[in-house]
Point group: C2
Chain length 355, copies 2
């Protein structure tokens, strides 16, 4: 099993190092190969996703990804910025299905800005399409406006689009996931305004017929943003496009108050995947040894389950994480009075010990 390890920028290297320790501690021998990505890759190779890194990602069975981005790259042209690496990997590897669980661990309920009765026990899954939508749509650019009112002015423009097969494949992923969970899919769109959403909704309704055991509902994206705040536990699986998924998955993650705990997976049609924490590179705390490695460690567990066919090992990691939480160990981001504050490495130590 070949795993590409791409630590990236900011806290990326620190948290990935702990996930790698956990993988080694499991027993089976993994073939891990590391490569630079994001700003770190720009520094050494002049591009956030150098050909060698992309090649490694292509030939690996799975990718363990840290995080990318740092203020010092803010002045670069957009195609050289760190986040282009993650967009490039998603596109080149056809990683179209993004799984973003939003889980509120019982021990961490107090970390949320929401009341415990609203958030306690939350366990929802956002399934976000990653290869289409306005992210990659052509044409796009800066042109001269043709609108009568603004004729001749500079205008920025982008194209949103989804084709039937794209909606079908992400829809099936969501229905399959719901089958193994609460058997409810809520498809989020803006079909009262967008043609793209009209087609999206039509396709979701059509494929839902193949999953009579799963309940399909539809919600406009503005309403979904509200309902997530009001009653997040009413959701089971939420499926949506790339742009709405970007917004709603982050909102859902932050509801828990413990985004430092949340893993994510981005899969292709053969379940090859890229695994990364839901949080970012946090350059403000990079190098201080205080970042929470648990989201990355849990991402490694997702990798074992979805891409490497090792569900027992995935379970072991998840149980170990639950154990360290039960022991009261907390990195600074999830620390509350009465618990024990630990560093990134100490948290890694504890998970390894708990295995």
């Amino acid at each position: 099993m070949k795993i590409a390890v791409l630590p990236g920028d900011g806290i990326g290297p620190e948290i990935v190092a702990q996930a790698v320790r956990v993988l080694h501690a499991l027993g089976p021998k993994f073939d891990l190969e590391e490569a630079p990505v994001g700003g770190a890759a720009y520094d050494v190779a002049g591009h956030p996703l150098p050909p060698a890194t992309l090649e490694l990602a292509k030939k690996a069975d799975a990718i363990l990804f840290g995080a990318v981005g740092d203020w010092k790259y803010d002045t670069l042209a957009r195609e050289l910025r760190p986040e282009q690496a993650i967009l490039g990997l998603r596109k080149h590897l056809e990683l179209f299905a993004n799984f973003r669980p939003a889980i509120c661990y019982p021990e961490l309920t107090a970390a949320s800005s929401l009341k415990p009765e609203i958030i306690g026990g939350l366990d929802i899954l956002i399934v976000r399409e990653l290869n289409g939508d306005i992210y990659f749509g052509q044409p796009r650019g800066i042109r001269t406006s043709e609108l009568p009112l603004f004729k001749g002015a500079r205008e920025g423009y982008d194209t949103m689009h989804y084709s039937e097969p794209e909606v079908e494949r992400i829809g099936r992923v969501a229905f399959e996931a719901a089958r193994k969970r609460g058997k409810k899919v809520c498809s989020v769109d803006k079909a009262n305004v967008l043609e793209t959403s009209q087609l999206w909704r039509e396709v979701m309704i059509r494929i839902s017929k193949e999953y009579p055991d799963v309940e399909l509902s539809h919600m406009y994206v503005d309403n979904a943003a509200m309902q997530l705040v009001k009653a997040p536990k009413a959701f089971d699986v939420v499926v949506t496009g790339n742009l709405f998924g970007d917004i709603l998955s982050d909102e859902a993650a932050m509801l828990t108050g413990s985004i430092g705990m949340l893993p994510s997976a981005s899969l292709d049609k053969n379940n090859k995947g890229l695994y990364e924490p839901s949080h970012g590179s946090a350059p403000d705390i990079a190098g201080k040894g205080i970042a929470n490695p648990l989201a990355t460690i849990l991402s490694a567990a997702m990798m074992l389950r979805y891409s490497l066919g090792m569900p027992a090992e995935a379970d072991r990691i998840e149980k170990a994480v639950q154990k360290v939480l039960a022991q009261g160990l907390r990195t600074a981001d999830i620390y509350t009075e009465g618990t024990q504050k630990v560093t990134t490495v100490q948290m890694g130590d504890a998970v390894v010990a708990a295995l």
Copy 2:
């Protein structure tokens, strides 16, 4: 002063009736003229925004709008659905500047799903652009995909765009508003992915030079969706495009837990405006006499302040609303133990009495 009164569907007529009573109780003589809109207009005239209603809206000095939409119109073609009325009014009247305050009244802090220390005292203003973006962008429709992977498949598509003058005018509205408040503008975009956002950000930076007393910051929309949950009080004025504004203004409104209290204004360049509650038509409770009329009454106050040049009368209404809250009167949506539950009409009575 001519006011077009468009009650619409669902609870619209009930709540608008109370706002009209409040206007009459103020003393000055307003010339109020009512017309059907939304599903109610479709029923009598075959179109959600009949020519006569649009004409009235055009010649009025301001528009008091209830809400539109009901399940029974769900099977109509999109161009005949109730919500087309609101999109049509915004576009035909060039109501480009949407003001959506998210305020948490001290008496209603407990209604929020957020902890009191996070939400108590919230007072932020979302300024949403209403005439551009992907809402009205051409081309749009269903076509045959040209993407190599999906060639020949049906594809839905839409165009997002903003020209410089469109961004400038909404930017100025936001900076002017911030000057009268906390002197901070946070511009929300997705400039790391969208060309439209790149131009948006560039223009915001340029015009910010004219407002050296106002602090400008930028945030990606996914991060904004998170920060609203985590620390909403860190914001003052948020300015954003039509689509992101749709999502974020609803999220912000729901944070307060009392969306039944929140008014909104949609203004043209001469401060002529349409005023409506931030909540919808709530067909499930229509006709029961239990809807909260306060958002509509407060919308009438905004109308007096922004479009009719009557700030003293606006103040009187707002004080009256504060008084009825202090008296402990609550409609069902904001009711908590120890307060007095009242009907729509009783709430209207109380505000009129408090004037």
